[in-house]
């Protein structure tokens, strides 16, 4: 690469913001309002393969079948896998650097067949292990958002 004596310029896209307004859908809304109003998790079961999805959605992709059967799941489960995020990166949701470190967890709630993604508390890193039992901690004030769950804590 040669600049041939020319100042090679870049142009910044500026401070423009374009916020999106995402539809949560019927199943997702029921899931989040159950957390908001009752501090409860619910899943949805595929009539064909029997898989219980958490978070719930309308269609089981592998079966291409609509789901309607609601199933209660616990606010406890185990760490299916996780990592501890340590590098600073730009959070596209806020436009700011995400506070690190944090525990990024895939939680298999009791009664579910898929993983729910959330924070796992990493105060004591030694306790954070694959297979560790975890429980949800809910926020006092809840707004129908995934952040109504504050995080999960290891209860082993």
């Amino acid at each position: 690469m040669t600049n041939q004596g020319v100042d090679l310029l870049t142009i910044n896209s500026g401070e423009a913001e374009q916020p999106f307004c995402y539809t949560v859908g019927l199943e997702g809304s029921k899931f989040l309002t159950e957390i908001r109003d009752n501090k409860r998790f619910v899943g949805i079961k595929c009539p064909k393969c029997g898989k219980v999805y958490v978070p719930p959605r309308k269609v089981c992709g592998p079966c291409f079948t609509e789901m309607t059967e609601w199933v209660p799941v616990k606010d406890e489960g185990y760490l299916h896998s996780y990592t501890i995020l340590r590098f600073a990166f730009l959070d596209p949701e806020t436009g700011k650097e995400k506070p690190v470190p944090y525990g990024y967890a895939f939680i298999r709630l009791d009664g579910a067949d898929t993983d729910f993604q959330h924070y796992v508390e990493i105060k004591d890193e030694k306790k954070v292990k694959i297979g560790a039992r975890v429980r949800a901690v809910f926020e006092e004030k809840r707004a129908g958002k995934i952040t109504d769950v504050k995080h999960f804590v290891v209860i082993d």
């Binding site: 870049t10 590098f87 596209p92 995400k98 944090y102 990024y104 967890a105 895939f106």
Partner: protein
């Protein structure tokens, strides 16, 4: 089934860098296309149709097919754009193959490109995932891959040092590739001592971000041998894109999509012992640990046995099955081009045009693509014509 026997007859790529301020995206594409046409002694008039791909939200340019015409040479030609995440390049390649193999076109130009210097790659990758259920905790490619590595290491007892061996191999191989971005060797100690990004992945375990482009010409039987004296014939492809929510992934099962794709590909091509029957592989390994668990998924060895294969040098240059003579993704990662580079590099090996990175006597080569939500694409190329 393919109607037309199809081969790759020409390839071209840019000299990949972390930032190419001397060319905009269109000009970057032009550089790869021009080199590809030169490789095949073709002109743009020889090209019947164009497929192009990148991750459009990385650059924030949403009509890449039309916007890029000056670079792609698609002026007044049929052109389509495809985007499938990390697999974009392999999808571009598979589309090029489909367009020729179906009998629709005789000579198709396939282009993958990315100018990763133009945005924040981790933030951009994060917006490729579900806004409600994935994004709160997801932190781009590294985070998901770290979760996968953690599950593999715990279940099979592989270590961070085993994974580092993969990075050492790919970075060493990259010194033979004049186009690679990172061309400096690293040691196991260098990898182990590099900063922890996301447990158990460290800085030197992962791919860089790159400005670069790649172009490939697919041709029908009628033209293939006229353009190239030793074309790389496509003997099969397979694409497995099983799901879209990260929470549905089977973390400890060693890339199920790759297991499915390679199984299907080997059945199509009649391959029973991939380690013995395939001469070289160009794999989309975006981080070191993938070079362990994913080669198990490819059937090169049993579960948990990949570390031994690595330490024994089986996958090094001069080994039984060299992997990534180009230096792979850990040395160069221009995302929309990355998986097409794997196909292109596999073709280069079959054509015998690899220069210092050439593996001797390559008759059979496999290329893989990885992306999306743990998706896999595979392509098998041979020096002999399919039956």
């Amino acid at each position: 089934m393919a109607k037309e026997k199809t081969a790759i007859v020409a390839t071209g790529q840019t000299h990949h860098r972390s930032s190419r301020l001397d060319v905009n995206g269109i000009e970057l594409i032009h550089e790869a296309v021009t080199r590809c046409l030169e490789d095949g002694e073709l002109t743009i008039d020889d090209i019947d149709a164009v497929v192009i791909g990148n991750m459009d939200h990385f650059e924030g340019i949403n009509y890449v097919d039309t916007w890029s015409i000056d670079g792609s040479g698609a002026f007044m030609k049929p052109i389509i754009k495809v985007t499938t995440g990390g697999t974009t390049g392999s999808t571009v390649g598979h589309c090029g193959y489909h367009l020729v193999a179906s009998g629709m076109f005789d000579k198709v130009l396939a282009i993958g490109w990315e100018k990763n210097s133009e945005s924040d790659t981790t933030a951009a990758i994060t917006t490729a995932f579900d806004p409600i259920w994935d994004r709160l905790v997801f932190a781009g490619a590294i985070s998901g891959l770290a979760v996968e590595a953690m599950a593999y290491m715990v279940k099979y007892g592989a270590t961070e040092k085993d994974a580092a061996r993969v990075a050492v191999r790919d970075r060493k191989h990259a010194t033979n590739n004049p186009y690679a971005q990172l061309r400096k060797e690293v040691s196991i100690e260098d990898v182990m001592n590099s900063p922890m990004l996301s447990d158990p992945i460290k800085l030197l375990d992962v791919c860089p971000r790159t400005d670069g482009a790649c172009a490939v010409v697919f041709a029908s039987e009628q033209y293939a041998e006229k353009i190239c004296d030793r074309p790389a014939w496509i003997h099969g492809i397979s694409a497995k894109h099983p799901y879209n929510y990260l929470g549905d992934y089977d973390w400890e099962d060693r890339l199920p999509s790759m297991q499915m794709a390679s199984k299907e590909l080997y059945a199509k091509a009649g391959i029973k012992e991939p380690l013995k029957e395939i001469d070289v592989m160009e794999l989309y390994l975006p981080y070191s640990c993938a070079g362990l668990s994913w080669i198990e998924a490819l059937g090169l060895c049993g579960p948990g046995q990949a570390p031994k294969l690595l330490w024994d040098g089986v996958t090094d240059m001069g080994g039984e099955l060299p992997i990534n003579p180009s230096g792979g993704v850990i040395a160069t990662n221009c995302i929309g081009a990355t998986a097409l580079l794997r196909i292109s590099e596999a073709a280069v090996q079959v054509m015998g045009r690899g220069g210092k990175r050439q593996v001797p006597d390559v008759n059979t080569a496999l290329a893989s693509g990885f992306g999306g939500c743990f998706w896999s694409d595979v392509t098998l190329l041979k020096s002999t014509k399919p039956k």
